[in-house]
Subunit: 386 residues, 2 copies
């Protein structure tokens, strides 16, 4: 285990009707004027928007709104949000929505105090020195953004999609009510499930091994695998929605990566697909993951895929390489069983831009720590996914 620092300041209010704490929490923070960031209007249809507005009114907190955040959130929304914060003396941001809304809100929180182009945070031209405080009201179990300091934005001009992060961007608190996820369309539910599982894989398949962190990763995967078919069949099953929601948070709140160096290759090469084709991130991950596994598997690392197979899928095969291959097959079958696409061609992507995307992926950093990927590796993983 490598040395680590754990800092988990985000308070979590989990369960039915936890939205009721919002006013009290904002009062504790002495908030006067909030920016309410949300997406395409699902919070209006569900009644969450009205609830938030009434809680803010009860507490005499001024509201400025930034609606319309895209599923792959754009850097132009960040510039717009930062401007609204300056104009309206915003002292707190409420991100009400899925990971895209929370990520965009984090970037706004940082951009508020930066006079240059917000994209500078993502191309490492600057770092977050100060940020507005924020909270999340989560409506989709997927990204884990509700309890970490990371965000991923898309530059719609350059068609790049890049991550950045800071402890200063960790939400002050997040409200997680599984009931908000009852009305999600199935395609969003299952894309979220692929996203959280991918987060676990990126941290589990990494060095050094760490006994507790790796067993906890297996625990998250088992929880997701047990509950995913239930939420697909019974979208209003509270217990299963709650288990999935909490699994999504733990999958990326830092606990699984302590003392390890995550791989994140699949995410980096998926971001190219989302940036170029505006596809759903979780769908891209579900397609790429089994092919990443097959491509990187070798004699040296097969013990880890075998451990995954035995501890998560109860595979009894004694030979590590055989158990590893069975585990990868189980992963594919699982994604298929809950209705996720298996191939890029199913979602309208052909091979015409593989070279360009591989080059772009490698432009800003090296890719992969469990096994480093060069351009040929990335193109091959795309090709296997066609």
């Amino acid at each position: 285990m490598k040395n680590f620092w754990l800092n988990m300041p985000t308070e979590i209010f989990f369960g039915k009707n936890q939205i009721e704490v919002l006013g009290k929490q904002l009062k504790k923070e002495n908030v006067k004027s909030v920016l309410l960031v949300y997406g395409k209007g699902s919070i209006k249809r569900s009644g969450l928007y009205d609830k938030i507005i009434s809680l803010l009114a009860e507490n005499s907190i001024k509201v400025t709104e930034l609606p319309g955040i895209d599923p792959n959130p754009r850097i132009s929304s960040v510039a717009k949000g930062a401007e609204l914060c300056r104009e309206n003396k915003i002292d707190f941001i409420i991100a009400a929505g899925a990971g895209s809304v929370i990520d965009c809100s984090k970037a706004i929180a940082a951009a508020r105090y930066y006079n240059g182009d917000p994209w500078d945070f993502f191309i490492r031209r600057t770092s977050v020195k100060k940020a507005l405080p924020l909270c999340a009201v989560l409506t989709l179990a997927a990204t884990g953004s509700e309890m970490n300091g990371g965000c991923v934005l898309t530059n719609e001009k350059t068609l790049e999609k890049l991550p950045m992060g800071s402890v200063r961007l960790k939400p002050r608190f997040s409200i997680l009510d599984p009931v908000y996820t009852f009305t999600l369309p199935k395609n969003q539910t299952i894309a979220g499930i692929a996203d959280m599982m991918s987060h676990v894989f990126e941290q589990y398949f990494s060095y050094p091994d760490a006994s507790l962190q790796d067993h906890m990763s297996e625990a998250v995967l088992k929880t997701v695998i047990e509950n995913a078919p239930v939420v697909v069949a019974e979208p209003e099953n509270y217990e299963a929605r709650a288990d999935i929601m909490w699994a999504g948070t733990v999958a990326l709140n830092g606990l699984l990566e302590l003392g390890k160096e995550g791989d994140w290759a699949t995410h980096m090469i998926e971001h190219e697909l989302s940036a170029k084709y505006d596809i759903t991130h979780g769908v891209g991950l579900a397609i790429l993951t089994p092919n990443w596994m097959k491509h990187v598997l070798d004699e040296k690392n097969c013990y880890k895929f075998a451990a995954y197979g035995r501890n998560v899928w109860n595979i009894t095969e004694k030979d590590d390489m055989k158990a590893a291959l069975q585990a990868i097959e189980k992963t594919s079958e699982f994604f298929k069983s809950i209705g996720l696409p298996q191939k890029l061609s199913e979602i309208g992507i052909d091979g015409s831009r593989f070279d360009e995307m591989a080059e772009s992926a490698l432009k800003n950093s090296r890719i992969g720590t469990f096994k480093e990927l060069n351009k040929e590796d990335i193109v091959e993983i795309y090709r296997m996914s066609l």
Copy 2:
């Protein structure tokens, strides 16, 4: 899953030489005058005491010392520590030692601002409204006190041992360097292992079931079971010591009990043994735990013991009751294999005070949520443990 609130403010600095952050962290808190609380001198033999003193001197922080804290810490030490805090204008407490030292420091932190008898916190006559901030420098993997707000103290006059807790008593930060545990005597190492496993059992065998929390409990148990024989055989194995140390923290930092109502019966009836006979808490737990399991096991709850057996011990038995009995047997065998006593008679305890202890255990609260225990149940568990 019940609704829950997660609040985890304690920062963790984990790994080799992390003590070096101490001065910087205290400076960040603007500390001028600390109370250094420690035990019977092991931190002097290991060099940790000298290191702390030199870091404080480098940062011009005044030190008042409270040495000599007992393994079952006494309420008289709390009164003494609170008095030292008032006299010396202490603004921060450093607890350097095992759980006993950290627990005592928490009670001092609370008692500093309370003019009555500090035992009042433990008999629920008052609650913690204000407390001095504190940090822990951990030297024994066991209690998890380094990342939670609880403490257990002994009243040496009444021979009671009781818990209390508050979010205000969570350490600001804790320093966890596995190297400090290299020189522990074997009996302390294994008692710590029994303690952390018992913490997991108290939360795992509880209602309602919660998929992720329960699988994470299994993850902690697997980590401990895999690494315990290694630290017993190779006390200076860094990786195994690190895995055990982190498991001890996660076992009781709140994550495993989220949305559940822990049982804690075994702890409550062990506290009577520690209070009356001043035995090592972990040893008492190791003796009682398998007998508590056997006593509460029934047709309704055997599914949970069976899940424990299958997921932690790889038991393949299909019948729940049979799998449950095998799992309990495995638990006994494991404690024995690492050298823990199996019977109260081995540690000089006879049956003469069982009635008195059972009555005392029930004096302050009901015992057990997984299965509530009455006086006869408690006496029976003691008797089975003789």
